[in-house]
């Protein structure tokens, strides 16, 4: 089973000018692994990462937007898959880390019995380029595609938690992260 932070370390080696929209545990891991101004961390309400990312991607078609989502989060906003499919942003990639639990809230299981096929859900919503990934080698091979292929691209990554990361909610919700992102994204 892949560890989420191992996936993110691989991704961090390749990321340059992409805007990374990250939520909850993926955000905490990403902040530890790749602190940078082009991280969009202020999601506000659970489930909205893909929607923030869609707004960024429609507003700046010249910038690649990568959303690092969670399975519990996406379940709160499954309709966003249909919205993304209809809007069809070519610069948008959506990675969902599937661990089957609400990790930020006590690791209670999702109402899924571990049986949800997010790639199938995404395809059913109209995102043709959707697939599941379960090994680090597969993921590494996919990274150039995720960073460059005309989207929307959707990948569901079957993971377990890696090393614990500091849960810095104050930074995620604070004004500084938004100020830094806004300035970096405007360049």
């Amino acid at each position: 089973m892949m560890k989420r932070d191992a996936c993110l370390k691989l991704l961090a080696r390749h990321v340059r000018e992409e805007a990374i929209v990250a939520t909850y545990q993926a955000a905490f891991d990403w902040m530890r692994i790749a602190p940078r101004d082009l991280n969009y961390l202020s999601i506000g309400a659970m489930g909205l990462a893909s929607s923030h990312g869609l707004g960024l991607s429609l507003g700046r078609p010249d910038r690649r937007i990568i959303v690092l989502d969670g399975d519990g989060s996406l379940l709160m906003n499954l309709g966003s898959l249909a919205t993304v499919a209809a809007a069809a942003p070519a610069n948008f990639a959506h990675l969902v880390f599937v661990n089957g639990v609400y990790e930020a809230n006590g690791s209670h299981p999702l109402p899924s019995n571990g049986s949800l096929d997010f790639a199938a859900i995404a395809r059913g919503a109209g995102i043709a380029d959707a697939a599941a990934i379960s090994t680090l080698a597969e993921f590494e091979a996919e990274i150039p595609h995720i960073l460059a292929k005309p989207g929307p691209v959707f990948r569901a990554l079957k993971v377990v938690a890696g090393e614990p990361s500091p849960q810095d909610y104050a930074y995620i919700h604070g004004a500084e992260t938004r100020t830094r992102f806004r300035a970096a994204f405007a360049r």
Binding site: A45, S51, L54, S80, T83, R182
Partner: protein, 172 residues
């Protein structure tokens, strides 16, 4: 002073004059004929059709980070459903989310807070509790408040809510 319903064409012109290029919307019967259908055919707007109104709060916010102006067009039921997203993203993060909210079921000439319909009469108190500026557009005279409200929202990076109290007329 006029008692004419708000002109849909005038509202659309106000949006354009305020630099709005994106309309993020779920259909609302109050604004369907006067705003959403004409906007859907207007090449000056990019219409983003959404499945749930809180998506729109985040989409409008992402767009503002990209330097683009947007409105979130919805019914009051969608506003009520989105209160947590509005609270977190628009209010606590101080983002310029501009909402146009059709008040479905509001009685003509009755202030929203005095409506007998609960979904209507709680909207302004909720906006007040969150400290969100709001404007009622009930007649054609009220339309002139829309463009300045949008300008203020973006200048101050704060949300604003325009309550549409009557169906806007269909643009010619």
């Amino acid at each position: 002073m006029t008692t004419q319903p708000p002109g849909g064409g005038r509202i659309i012109a106000a949006l354009k004059s305020a630099g709005v290029g994106f309309v993020v919307a779920l259909p609302d019967i109050v604004t369907s004929d006067g705003l959403l259908w004409p906007i859907s055919r207007d090449p000056d707007f990019r219409l983003v059709r959404i499945c749930k109104e809180d998506e729109g709060v985040a989409i409008c916010t992402g767009l503002s980070f990209a330097g683009k102006r947007a409105i979130l067009l919805m019914q009051q039921t969608g506003f009520l459903d989105s209160v947590n997203a509005i609270r977190a993203v628009a209010v606590e993060y101080q983002q310029p989310v501009v909402m146009l909210v059709g008040l479905q079921g509001k009685e003509p000439g009755v202030a929203p807070s005095r409506s007998t319909k609960v979904s209507v009469n709680i909207v302004e108190p909720i906006l007040d509790a969150m400290g969100i500026a709001h404007h009622l557009v009930e007649t054609d005279d009220d339309v002139s408040a829309i463009a300045p409200a949008i300008e203020t929202a973006y200048a101050a990076s704060r949300p604003v809510c325009v309550l549409i109290g009557r169906p806007p007329s269909v643009p010619a």
